[in-house]
Amino acid sequence: MLLDVAISCAAFLLLLAVPAVALGSRPFASSLIYALSVIPLAIVAVVGVSALLGVGEMTTAVLPVGLPWLGSHLSLDALSAFFLVVVGLGGAVTGVYAIGYGRHEHEPWRVLPFYPAFLGAMVIVVLADDASTFLLSWEVMSLLSWALVLAHHRESEAQKAAYVYLVMAGFGTMALLLAFGLLAGGEGGYAFEAIRAGKRSPLAATAILALMLIGAGSKAGLAPLHVWLPLAHPAAPSHVSALMSGVMTKVALYGFIRVVFDLLGPLEWWTSPAVILLGSTTAVLGIVYAMMESDIKKALAYSTIENIGVIFAALGLALAFKASGLTAPAALAFSAALFHIFNHMAFKSLLFMGAGAVLNATGRRDLDGLGGLIGRMPVTSFLVLVGVTAISALPPLNGFASEWLVFQSVLKSPELPQIGLQILIPAAGGLLALAAALVAAAFVRIYGVGFLGRPRSEAARQAKEVDRFSLTAMALLAAICVLAGIFPGLVLDTMAPAVHAMLGSQLPLQAEQPWLTLVPITESRSTYNGLLVMVFIAVSASAAAWMVHRLASRRLRRAPAWDCGFPNADPATQYGAGSFAQPVRRVLGTILMRAHEEVKMPPPGDPSPARHTVHTRDLIWEEIYLRIASTVNVIATRMNHLQFLTIRRYLSLVLFSLVSLLLVLALWN
């Protein structure tokens, strides 16, 4: 029953593309389509929650489409249900946002047909229960998001982004194809049921894990396969960016989890370090890039990479614990990963929506053209501040709760029997801690430069608050961030069936703890209570404020900024995106990005201004991707000579192939 509802919703979303094409650019089309997309997604989210809560049974269904002799298997289990919640919630809220945001689109017909279908495809990926349905919907998801990235196709940036994106998606899909090829075997047992039943050697299992890391990892943004992400996510319209960063990367993670935790069967313990290390380095790399980036949407995209790294690290921890049969810590790490997935959906969507609101209000994405928005767009700024606080893993918001769980699972590493892992996991934890600290710095920079201070451009000075729909959507997400932060136990209890389905174990029931405290293992070991922290801070802050105002002075005078006595009216004298990043750039950027600064001083007496330029290089892009591209180019150029041969030479090729085949035959005899 639940499954049928979810399938109908997905089908409705896919079919919504048809009226979207038909309506074209009518003025009401945009609002109508977005509004219509909200309903099924909300239903999907409800379906997911009810399935997790055990309302209604979880079933499978076989549709007569897809691979002919197999049909299209779909099923709803706890894991799918959890991701249905992520997709449904993220999608529905984004839909609300888009009702307002979408009006500003110049060519809505380049977005509308693809948008609902993209969501529908994601729902199907999550429900898929056989390899072909999974890959089909997966690739449809990529394809449609590619089309969405090209909504502003006149910008050459967008074209490049879309190209890199789709090629990487194709690469990832090929890896997945190979992985499923190994899983299904030569006879083509593509149904997940058959795959689960199959036995495979440790070598094959390792190969599948590696292929999944490539396939799902490239889609999620795992370094060094992440390069498309900071290009593609910002290039899309902002509500699509929100979906891509907030939801699509989660669907990619779903693919990884489904295969590695569910279908693959046992893995050797020595496979987990790769996942952990990849995850934690991705986290650090992603956030260092975010720290250097001055395009607000790009910076957010890089921060997505960071979060994906954290999630992968947590999943790797779960793998390590699972391989040694430690199901309780595995459940802890896995819950942390799922929780972070949910949280990241909420705050990253919120932040991209905020960036979209800013983009609409000012027309600018570069931090150095913004500033002072907190006075001009107060609601947006407040909501974004909530998101920024959440993503920086600050208590009492949700980002901290999941990050805290990750650290708690890191601290379970002494229970592992392998000394290698015992050493490696805390080291990886150190990387995660570094990443967490950098996140705070990066978001102080984004918020401080983008929203605080004085306006850096005329556009920012003229900015106006955005429409109600956008604000409502952002407010909803901000509320989720807060609620999940102060009631983490409830979220964890709700997702517990998904954890149980994958690992056969789950966290202790959190709802029974006094004061809704989060107690992942035992009370004497570690506890955290978001609610109380929230209450304490709120109470002590307001008490302090009240006391001070009451007992001491409450006088206040507005005056020009002090600035050590030399205030300068030019907003360019503020700290900008580049200058804020300077200390971190000097510390980490010199190594990771070969950053160097160059100062051009005019000779004495020359009144021309001195110039300070910063050069950074994207080493991964240059050393891996450009190399591959140039290799392909070189080969293509070499081979191209074959297009310009004479007929005689072509005949020689024929003769040559004939003679060599004859020789083969003669030798074979």
């Binding site: 501040l385 570094l434 102080v444 920079r445 918020y447 304490f536 002075s553």
Partner: protein, 318 residues
């Protein structure tokens, strides 16, 4: 009944930290002055400063936003909550389970985060310089701190400060290399986080070397007072933390008698005093670093903390 006692103890603890913090600052200043052969201000001078600031009017920059005005209270609150959760003279406080060591680190992080945002709010170059440097220092100090937490937590099997403190007080801990490394790392972090020499100079207003002070340059009156208290609280917190984790002698436990509480309180005062004197001695014997040398200094902490964590396993498996 027990609940009431516990609540009282918790309340005393909270009041105590706020009350003691300026005194600690005064002590450090006094000792530093004496060491440089000055007489120095009175021990209670920080109280006077705060009281005066409280009474003064606030001069607010014209374009300062609501955030700028809210931040001092939030910073104070977050720091206070964090400080209240660190056992001072007794463990097993009523609300100690609200947050563990990691959460305390994160609470301090929140305080710093908002302060840095406030530094950016008015849109001056000094605010920016302070914020960006503060965050840079934090990006090194916070992981070092967390790694220290890891070492301690891995030894004690808990991140709950009461449990850790109990464990550390028990004889089975012994002397461990990694704990020593962790201690050194934590001290470095504490110096950096509290903007002490050699990382920052709390007494300077020489623009280019300022970090923390540059960030709060636009604050005045009661706002500045809140920030000053918060800073003092933070210093107290770190010393309490070091004391409670590495020198848990004399600390009272949940069910102890009143006498034990008294002993605990005395021991705590002694530890605070020792910490303050040690800090003053250290600060007078060393010169301030250039800002871009700070990462190296903190890198040492990071390395030590990491080494401490790793050695934990190496030495155990030997």
């Amino acid at each position: 009944m027990e609940l009431i006692v516990n609540l009282i103890v918790q309340g005393i603890q909270m009041a105590l930290v706020v009350a003691l913090a300026p005194l600690l600052v005064g002590l450090v200043r006094k000792v530093k002055a004496r060491l440089t052969r000055r007489r120095g201000a009175s021990l209670v001078q920080p109280y006077r400063d705060i009281a005066r600031l409280m009474r003064k009017e606030v001069v607010l920059a014209e374009n300062a936003s609501w955030l700028f005005r809210v931040v001092p209270y939030m910073v104070f609150a977050a720091t206070w909550v964090a400080a209240a959760l660190v056992p001072t003279f007794a463990t097993g406080l009523q609300f100690s389970w609200t947050a563990d060591l990691i959460a305390i680190v994160a609470l301090l992080g929140s305080a710093r985060f908002f302060l840095a945002l406030a530094g950016m709010d008015v849109g001056t170059s000094f605010g920016g310089i302070g914020s960006s440097r503060e965050m840079m220092i934090a990006t090194m100090a916070e992981p070092a701190m967390l790694l220290t937490v890891f070492s301690v937590a891995l030894v004690a099997g808990s991140t709950q400060l009461s449990t850790v403190s109990h464990f550390m007080a028990s004889p089975e801990v012994g002397l461990r290399v990694s704990l020593g490394l962790a201690l050194v790392a934590l001290i470095i972090v504490a110096i950096a986080e509290n903007a002490r020499i050699p990382v920052d100079n709390p007494a300077t207003h020489l623009e280019l070397t300022m970090v923390h002070e540059a960030m709060v340059l636009e604050y005045s009156g009661r706002h500045l007072a809140m920030i000053e208290i918060a800073a003092a609280l933070k210093l107290l917190l770190y010393i309490s933390l070091i004391a409670c984790v590495f020198f848990p002698w004399g600390i009272a436990t949940e069910s102890d008698s009143l006498g034990a509480y008294a002993v605990g309180a005395l021991a705590y005062f002694a530890k605070l005093g020792a910490g303050g004197v040690a800090l003053a001695v250290f600060e007078t014997s060393i010169a301030k670093m250039r800002v871009f040398r700070v990462p190296d200094f903190l890198g040492v902490a990071l390395m030590l903390a990491l080494l401490g964590t790793l050695l934990l396993f190496v030495s155990r498996s030997l």
